[in-house]
Symmetry: C2
Subunit: 483 residues, 2 copies
């Protein structure tokens, strides 16, 4: 089998990342970028140092999370000392209150730096992320040919990158041969649903596999996720909740990098509870909110809080809405805000968990509050999906079908046939988008999703390109070891 | 088949819960309980009301989360008005600063009450849980015969309680017939591991099944969790992360209630990363910590923060340690604090995720900090497992094997055979405990865990006691609908 792209050592290094930063310094894209990359005026101390706050509107930014103003730098891993050693000579900024005045202290301690361009604000005790509005994320996440660049300089120094939970490895499997042609990554809850989707999309895009073969669960030896590939489309199960989808996305994004995939588009297709939305309605997420109705994911990295915006691709959302309008299906397709919770029962105000300390009236009051806040639906994965894909510069959309209107109750009452048809609706919409992108007839009525064939019985290694059989065995066993 | 306990309507009602509260009021258990259940001095307002702060040391408690002192009551769902209408006549408490003094305002608004005995503190904006140290949790979570009582009065008013993610229902399946004899619930990450454990424990406790039969995945139609039953032992997979294990525990605790199980003991058996602990060491969790190294789980319920302690059963931990000492295995078994994270990569300080904005030195500094803080291991489920079982009054333990020492690296380097043997160690310890509890020979050397037989092909409904075939179909289809 021939390789479309020669397998040569590549990928981001510490130097490469520094080069990116240097490019930002030398070639600012737009006025605001200049703000972001301006050199700072930190005093050079090995411990936390208060900012010498001078008037320099070009380099001062408001903290993302509190009112305190602080200074961004382009520092991070491998950043030079010059940011710390160069002191400003400009006059003090009246809006910037110094340490002793108790308003804003920006640490310049290298041990506390999280992220290229990120900054720690002592006033609110949070790490500020890269100024996503102003930095060209594409610079950080793509090579010039459009292939994925990782925001992790360490990967390239590893002997092998084992994708534990996918049962794949960068030096055991020929990932370029296997995955280089991927253009769309579709993820959803259960292995069964994603196997169904794989067979459905195979028919929709008229993807042929040789007679006598069937689709293989590529990640079967991880015993966690299931992954099917039908030409340019990956179909993967993600389990339940943010941690499960986070592990998957870390490894799938790395898979895109190793396979040198160009500009993949990610979809989450699933189910949700609607808020004032009828069961059967397809909902495309505009932005993902946490349980506090804030549009960011908060995670703890080396003991520090990091917040990442729950942003999804606006243009992709509009394109999906446009396709839904063209096809005139007998059900609504809408867009709105999606609340993402860490719990199915109390976290979503259900009355039927093992614990419930509130009344139905209190629950309804809360659901009404969500509706007034613009929440259209609730599920459990969108926030991490949005935050991680956005951080990786990947265009992404969440398309779910509402199984019920939570204003009217907690129980799913629709009969089996109706539920099955509802669950195919997000799949149909995403399939239409994929067909359109591939230049296939976009508006043909989708046929019924075919029944599943029986699971593959073929030995795993006979149907995947192998670089090292010994290492494949090692990857499989290590993958099986992790929870 | 005969029922050991007649199937009659039972379970906690609003009245039952009120009765419990009344019992607390009438029959205080110990001095401190008196503090907790003393009637409050709230003014009777339908909106938030500042506490009329008087000297009454018996009824005043410090807020669990901030220094403000506040007053607990026994109010909650269905609580009477008397708590709110009765005003104290005692003199003001100098330690208790009123609303206008900006220190502590305790809301008495019924719409904001979360939990029997819980209280909202306006000073720190958190719900205080039931005072777990002082309340007899057993009263809240057990009937007099030892069967599970739910802390949810709504369940008994439902036509049927569908355990969506287990593909079981209270009126479709005869849950008493199926599960009444359960004494131990063992949960772990993957379906494969828990199927292996089911066959292993079957052999260990010499549990016989009829010739020509094999174990069935009871929850196969949920396509999420796998559940196997071998006599008194349930073996269930829980997926990855807190949300996934939370959904499972809500439903398993309800299953214990519906099946009228007496005092079940829960175990999580799994893998983890050790901190200064050699790979292969078995670690029993003393308490579970979140990423901030605090021993509570924080969740959002109806928009309010609720914290539940990450406590595990001390006696059970000691018993397991005792058994490990008796058996003199050629590896260590220790106990310690377990940090539970929501992310496998950045959340655990790994360098090999899709994103990494810190250096190896910074990572090692963080891992060392964890070690100095007494953390022995890291995994992703213990906190919810501890918090939910503790809240349900269920004795529980987390027993994991360390796959590596994170002080030395991030990669699992042990060969397959070694890893397989390591993963059986927590299973062997739990199996010994179970055998001891069942009065079987406790110290016989455990045989090698047998190889898996092929998955069950039997039709689901032919091997489970059925109350209503129509409702079983409905439960299966609804269960398949949820993510």
């Amino acid at each position: 089998m021939s390789l479309l792209i020669p397998k040569s050592p590549s990928g981001p290094t510490l130097e490469a990342l520094n080069e990116v930063e240097q490019n930002q310094l030398e070639k600012p894209h737009g006025e605001s970028l200049n703000d972001f990359t301006s050199k700072s005026s930190y005093t050079n101390k090995s411990t936390k140092a208060s900012v010498d706050c001078r008037r320099n509107t070009a380099s001062l930014k408001g903290c993302h999370f509190c009112s305190a103003r602080m200074r961004y730098t382009s520092s991070g891993i491998g950043s030079s000392e010059e940011d710390d050693s160069e002191s400003s000579t400009e006059v003090g900024d009246p809006n910037h209150v110094s340490d002793t005045q108790g308003n804003c202290n920006v640490s310049s301690d290298k041990d506390e730096k999280i992220g290229v361009g990120s900054k720690f604000c002592n006033a609110c005790d949070y790490w500020n992320p890269v100024d996503e509005e102003n930095v060209n994320i594409r610079q950080l996440t793509r090579y010039s040919n459009g292939t994925i660049k990782l925001r992790n300089p360490h990967i390239n120094f590893m002997d092998q990158d084992i994708l534990y939970h996918l049962a794949l490895g960068s030096e055991s499997h020929d990932l370029i041969e296997m995955f280089h042609d991927v253009k769309f990554v579709c993820i959803g809850g259960t292995p069964k649903r994603m196997e169904e989707f794989a067979y459905y999309i195979m028919k929709e895009i008229d993807y042929k596999i040789p007679a006598g073969t069937q689709l293989l669960d590529i990640s079967q030896y991880s015993y966690r996720y299931s992954m099917y590939k039908t030409g340019p489309v990956l179909s993967i199960s993600h389990g339940m909740g943010i941690p499960s989808v986070s592990i998957l996305l870390h490894e799938v994004i790395k898979l895109m990098y190793h396979a040198k995939v160009c500009d993949p588009i990610f979809f989450r297709i699933g189910t949700c509870g609607g808020i004032g939305i009828d069961g059967g309605t397809v909902i495309i997420t505009e932005e993902a909110l946490n349980s506090d109705l804030k549009s960011y994911q908060e995670l703890t990295v080396l003991g520090k809080k990091v917040r990442r915006p729950g942003k999804l691709d606006k243009r992709l959302c509009d394109e999906l809405l446009g396709i839904s309008r063209e096809t005139q299906e007998p059900y609504d397709t809408v867009s709105g805000k999606t609340m993402c919770t860490d719990d199915f029962y109390e976290g979503q105000g259900r009355l039927d968990g093992a614990f419930c300390d509130y009344s139905e009236k209190e629950k309804m009051s809360y659901i009404s509050h969500l509706q007034r806040s613009g929440v259209t639906n609730i599920e459990m994965e969108s926030l991490a999906f949005a935050a991680l894909t956005h951080h990786a510069g990947i265009r992404a959309a969440v398309v779910c079908v509402s199984l019920l209107d939570r204003i009217r109750g907690d129980q799913v009452l629709a009969p089996k046939e109706v539920l099955n048809e509802w669950q195919r609706r997000p799949q149909k919409l995403v399939a239409r988008y994929i067909k359109k992108q591939l230049g296939l007839v976009p508006h043909r009525r989708s046929p019924t999703i075919p029944e599943l064939s029986s699971p593959c019985q073929c030995p795993h290694t006979t149907v995947m390109p192998v670089k090292s059989p010994r290492r494949i065995t090692m990857v499989q066993q290590e993958s099986q070891s992790y929870d």
